[in-house]
């Protein structure tokens, strides 16, 4: 489904974020992308949504080279890839419902479809009763669940989660990953960037460990031991 072929990314300031990455991810995989800060985890995810383009190499999504997708077709890719951002990217002046509905509004769904599908997504992530709350009124875990609901409400083929447990306590972090696991079991490929070793070691999923932009290890039921 996703394939990185000799992918390197160097920023204009000369910093090398990724260096010769070769990686294949099959449909319905659950992959932890681990590594310390600055290892290239976020960069790797951003190449999948074409927020960034590789300096060299190819990132393939099914048969398409993502870098070659023209600007006027980019929305098609992004509708197939849901993203949970490190900084949540929730709109503070919109309610939980409105934030999640945004993903469907851009697909021009009708009001009744939006009502139904958003409610289902909020129920799935367990915050249906908070639908009318604003992000500022939510706990850290609830904010994260809102972000997940927005990412999955349009049923994407791939879900990217960039440090979704970053600011959460262990229990809430585990609940969030359990939720991602549930979504993965329903057929969505999940890539989760994290440096939370407790979580990675508990869930026993495929681990791709990055260090200084290179893949240091790629294990099927891997573990993560921070340096």
């Amino acid at each position: 489904m996703l394939e990185f072929i000799a992918v390197s990314k160097q920023f204009p300031d000369g910093q090398v974020a990724l260096d010769d990455i070769n990686l294949k991810i099959e449909g319905s995989d659950f992959v932890f992308i681990t590594g310390p800060s600055g290892a290239g985890k976020s960069t790797l995810l951003k190449l999948i949504t074409k927020e960034l383009v590789p300096t060299s190499g190819q990132v393939m999504f099914n048969e398409d080279d993502i870098a070659k997708i023209p600007a006027n077709k980019l929305h098609i890719l992004r509708r197939r890839v849901g993203t949970v951002f490190q900084d949540f990217k929730l709109l503070l002046n919109r309610t939980v419902f409105e934030n999640v509905a945004l993903s469907l509004e851009v697909l021009k769904r009708s009001d009744s479809e939006i009502e139904k599908e958003v409610s289902e997504a909020l129920e799935k992530v367990g915050i249906l009763e908070k639908a009318d709350y604003f992000p500022a009124q939510l706990s850290g875990g609830e904010v994260q669940r809102t972000a997940i609901a927005r990412a999955i409400v349009s049923n994407p083929e791939v879900l990217l989660a960039d440090e979704p447990t970053g600011d959460l306590d262990t229990k809430t972090a585990e609940q969030v990953v359990e939720l991602l696991e549930k979504i993965n079991k329903e057929g969505t490929t999940v890539l989760m960037a994290t440096h939370n070793s407790t979580i990675v070691n508990k869930f026993k999923k495929r681990v791709v460990h990055l260090k200084k932009g290179k893949i240091e290890k790629d294990q099927k039921e891997g573990k993560y031991e921070p340096d």
Binding site: T49, E51, A71, N72, H75, I76, R78, R79, G82, T83, F85, K89, L91, N93, L102, S103, V106, L107, K108, R150, S154
Partner: protein, 290 residues
């Protein structure tokens, strides 16, 4: 319709910018409307005067009918006239009596012999008056030539000045409105930068993201044009007796309501276009979608 509702909701969240843009548009199109009405009004007055006998040639008492007919033929042969009407002493007296019917003292003392014979010459174009006047004044049988040439010249000059002044003034106001639209939409984009970025990341097309800004720009225009035409309509309605009094015989009221509809349609279309182009420039300049 849904999009318009959403745009209105966004406008209400920062009403002062919206008010500034709408007021600038209203002012621009209000001033434009005034100039349009002045130009049309000036043209109506000019047409009225041009359709009237422009030159009246009074003959000396000793001129005989053959000499009068000769001059009439000469004037007609220039090809510049629309109509030439001979007014005999008796007809002149009848006109005099009609004009002074409320003043018996004036009527008593005047007989047909006191009044000169004349020809009323209606010319095709106001600019031809001069040539006809010179021709008449060249005849020894002519006593006096009365011409509204100066009035027409003045009117033509005023109309030209109004047109030029209007063009300069309205262009300046249009430019200001245009810049205000770009500025306001630019600020909107800046305020909604995060939302725009999120929409793009969840799969919105560029058009989906840009559309509310285009709607907003055109709404400012349509609102401004509507306010301006409404204001003009009310003012004309209110001051119509005074204006009609000033214009005398030149009938301009009641103004056909279709005129206001056309004025509104033309201004709303122009204003909407300005709003859309302003929004397009603001989007091109400020909306950077990754």
């Amino acid at each position: 319709m849904n999009q318009i509702k959403k745009t209105v909701k966004l406008l209400r969240r920062s009403p002062y910018q919206a008010l500034a843009a709408a007021l600038a548009m209203s002012l621009t199109f209000f001033v434009s409307s005034i100039f349009i009405i002045l130009i049309i009004g000036g043209q109506i007055v000019l047409n009225y005067i041009e359709q009237r006998p422009e030159v009246i040639v009074f003959f000396a008492d000793e001129a005989n009918q053959t000499e009068i007919d000769d001059l009439t033929s000469k004037v007609r042969s220039t090809g510049l006239t629309k109509e030439i009407k001979f007014v005999s002493k008796e007809e002149a007296l009848a006109i005099y009596r009609e004009r002074n019917k409320d003043d018996p003292l004036l009527l008593e003392s005047v007989t047909a012999d006191f009044l000169p014979r004349s020809i009323d010459i209606s010319v095709n174009r106001a600019s031809d008056i001069k040539q006809i006047t010179e021709l008449a004044q060249g005849s020894e049988h002519v006593d006096k030539v009365i011409t509204p040439e100066n009035l027409v010249e003045q009117l033509v000059k005023w109309t030209k000045t109004i047109r030029l002044g209007g063009l300069v003034f309205v262009s300046t106001l249009l430019s200001i409105s245009f810049l205000i639209i770009i500025m306001v939409i630019g600020m909107r984009i800046a305020i909604r930068r995060e939302e725009v970025s999120i929409m793009s990341l969840v799969g919105a097309t560029k058009w989906y993201i840009a559309r509310p800004f285009f709607i907003e720009g055109s709404l400012y225009g349509i609102l401004g044009a509507s306010v301006s035409v409404l204001l003009i309509y009310v003012l004309l309605l209110f001051y119509s007796p005074q204006i009609q009094n000033f214009l005398g015989d030149i009938r301009v009221f009641p103004i056909n309501p279709l005129f206001f509809l056309y004025l509104w349609a033309a201004e709303a279309l122009t204003a909407a276009l300005i709003g859309i182009i302003g929004a397009a420039i603001a989007l091109y300049r400020y909306l950077k979608i990754k």
